[in-house]
Symmetry: C2
Subunit: 479 residues, 2 copies
Amino acid sequence: MSSSNINFRITPRAVDHGQWYQDVIRAAGLAAYSEVPGCMIIEPNGCALWNRIRNCLGARIEATGHEDMMFPTLIPYSYFKREERHIEGFAPELAMIERLRGKVLEDPLCLRPTSETVIYRYFAERIQTRADLPIMINQWANVFRVEQRTLPFLRTMEFHWQEGHTAHFSEEEARAEALLMGEEYRRFIQDELAIPCISGRKTPRERFAGAVDTYTIESLMPSGKALQCATSHYLGSEFAGAFGVQCIGAGGALMPVHTTSWGMSTRIIGAIIMTHADDRGMVMPPRIAPVQVAILPVGGADDEAIQAMVRAVRDQLAAVGIRVRVDVSGERIGRQHYAWEKRGVPLRLTIGRTEVAAGTVTVTRRDTGEKVVLSLAGVEEKVAALLEAQHHSLLGCAAGRLADRTRTIETLADLEVGQAEGAGLFAAGWAGGEAEEVMLKERFETTIRCIPDRPCVTLPRCFLTGQPAREQVLIAKSY
Amino acid sequence: MSSSNINFRITPRAVDHGQWYQDVIRAAGLAAYSEVPGCMIIEPNGCALWNRIRNCLGARIEATGHEDMMFPTLIPYSYFKREERHIEGFAPELAMIERLRGKVLEDPLCLRPTSETVIYRYFAERIQTRADLPIMINQWANVFRVEQRTLPFLRTMEFHWQEGHTAHFSEEEARAEALLMGEEYRRFIQDELAIPCISGRKTPRERFAGAVDTYTIESLMPSGKALQCATSHYLGSEFAGAFGVQCIGAGGALMPVHTTSWGMSTRIIGAIIMTHADDRGMVMPPRIAPVQVAILPVGGADDEAIQAMVRAVRDQLAAVGIRVRVDVSGERIGRQHYAWEKRGVPLRLTIGRTEVAAGTVTVTRRDTGEKVVLSLAGVEEKVAALLEAQHHSLLGCAAGRLADRTRTIETLADLEVGQAEGAGLFAAGWAGGEAEEVMLKERFETTIRCIPDRPCVTLPRCFLTGQPAREQVLIAKSY
């Protein structure tokens, strides 16, 4: 833990949301700026959080039959040119190496913005017959997209993610895979990160460059902007066709396979911060928190009775798998509380002479600040229950906010009023096309976040054109 | 598991060592070539091995008080120029981005070959007083060094590693840290990977660019060449000085801190392959093996009694933490054996009608090919014992080979004879300097691998100059 961050003051969220966000990150030791434009340094508390996300989501990815691989970071530029819409989407964001050892490269090497192209070359070699399918792989990697405006975790030139890539014999199987992984993301984000979210499809305009369908997991931040937490794409067979990923079909002819890709990135840490943190600093959702419980000894560095109880409680909690740390800073109790609070640790247990005498521990909840005194017998179960209660409470708060700030609109005027009144997410009927989406973006800075799988209402008419609604959509500003 | 690798033939090691090495890699599904020069694709079996190494070594790094961080991959070229010997060492190997969004960069961005420079900028910001020390961090990352000749795992343009970086108040503390991490590597490599190794110091010529002392862990491959498995550097205070990493010393004056760095890379997978694999394919050391036991059902896809026993044994093994997989390929038993053998799985358990009738399982050891029949009662303990036995057997074989191929030399003629007779590692007295090291490299393709911590003999005179020996050294060709 960095002592130098202890005295860091956090700007209140109501005063300046952007500054609050960056202050929370610095005060909690999540990330720091680097001198490389748009690249950040992920500090120990942020890295521990990402490692936990990696382990938990990784276990789900493995359990659904995917194997990890690692592909080269550098991809020949010529690969990107094979799929027209793909290069169109990514060309402006590519960083390239044009010379090596003083020699100009005929085919420059790009820092991967995503790995479809290099992975499909590999698939093409591995797939000959139907027996070679499906191939289901995943990669944890750093990727690079040259961005003009950057924001820690949310939009950086380099970021970390996992990208899953699969190839299937049939469209049906590939679509089922893309939907399944979308659902895995939704559950992971809700069940582990306590972020309520909405699953749906993207409109053609908002799809991944080259995808036939993009399934998205969207959440609404307290700022009123939506954040895309993860996406899963059904890429059809065109991508595979462009890279010669084919297999012998029923009639003996070569047919391109059907592919999917899906990813979740360090961006999710931005969603965790914005959803749960407060003016006192970070709030880690208990199930994913790198440290779930901090034990703070009250002025007892030399008090053997206090130290013995600290060790006993620590061992009791650790024995049931609770991630616990003892504060060994030797600071006075107020500073200990302050430090662990900013870092977002869900529960702080204080143990001093009062507690030793009474055979109790005093527990402070990070989310509510509430204090509870627990007797030592079965303390591990009570602490586990408090962690679970905090998870449900955080999820409930966020779900309440999402409901409060979602509004049904039937006309363009409704959107204008809703925006003025601070609503964030607008449910509407839709019969528009790309031109209407461009207008929404230009005039209202909003986009269609998704066509939700389970619309909250069904509106008969398009709020823009007045035509009978072709589908139900959710509209919002977004990060 | 890739069905397309099943029929892959492995060139015998005695016929062509280089081809054997590459064949083992392909047949075992460890890695594949990519079209990007010098970059490889790490396949599922190789990636699972690296993930296990990451978890096990990572736990040791955490237990010794280090925290994970992630720094940017791109480092401004100007950073490298601050430490003269460092830029001298790395300049030829740097890959650079010279333009972004069409604009020429004044300060090009380098793909990190190692991260001291960017990490020291961060240290400089974090360290003011002695209370901020030590800082002890670790990073799992991909790094890039432009190489002219490449070999899978051993020498690639992009590779994966962990790099530890620490800053301390005193030289004593920093040296102790560098030595401790060297010792952690030695133990990890010997205890988990079953590779016997020698720890020692590098000569000035062989040190890391800019280091005051480099501690190395060397092993001898069956080819007769040494392989540097991991290194740990005491960097003195010059590196810190060049980057302004200072703290207020005893007299109130600013003093540069003392730093260390230490790393182990995917290169270690090359060492595992060469040390343990044979003409039948990969041999995974049991303690690190991603899959420790494969259960092969003998012709029993529809036989409920066989399937029930397969599940029961699988659950019994998994319950004590053994990493077990059931072969679900439906292939005939010979092909199942062949596939898992190539992949290097330590134990193969067959279960067919014979086994169901007798209440036994038949176990085949990967290293010796030996078969044992085990009764079901307490099978998990017997399997665990067989895994341990295989670990010790692999380590013993490799240690025997190391001893057999180490020779004491007292003259240059001894070296020539020893090389001709196929010895690999030469223990010698040394009083030479850089000129003599250059001669050894040019005439005999050998280098001083290290000045061992525990020399096997003490030779009074330098084998080259005849002068009284200043130190004892180990000389070898190397990867």
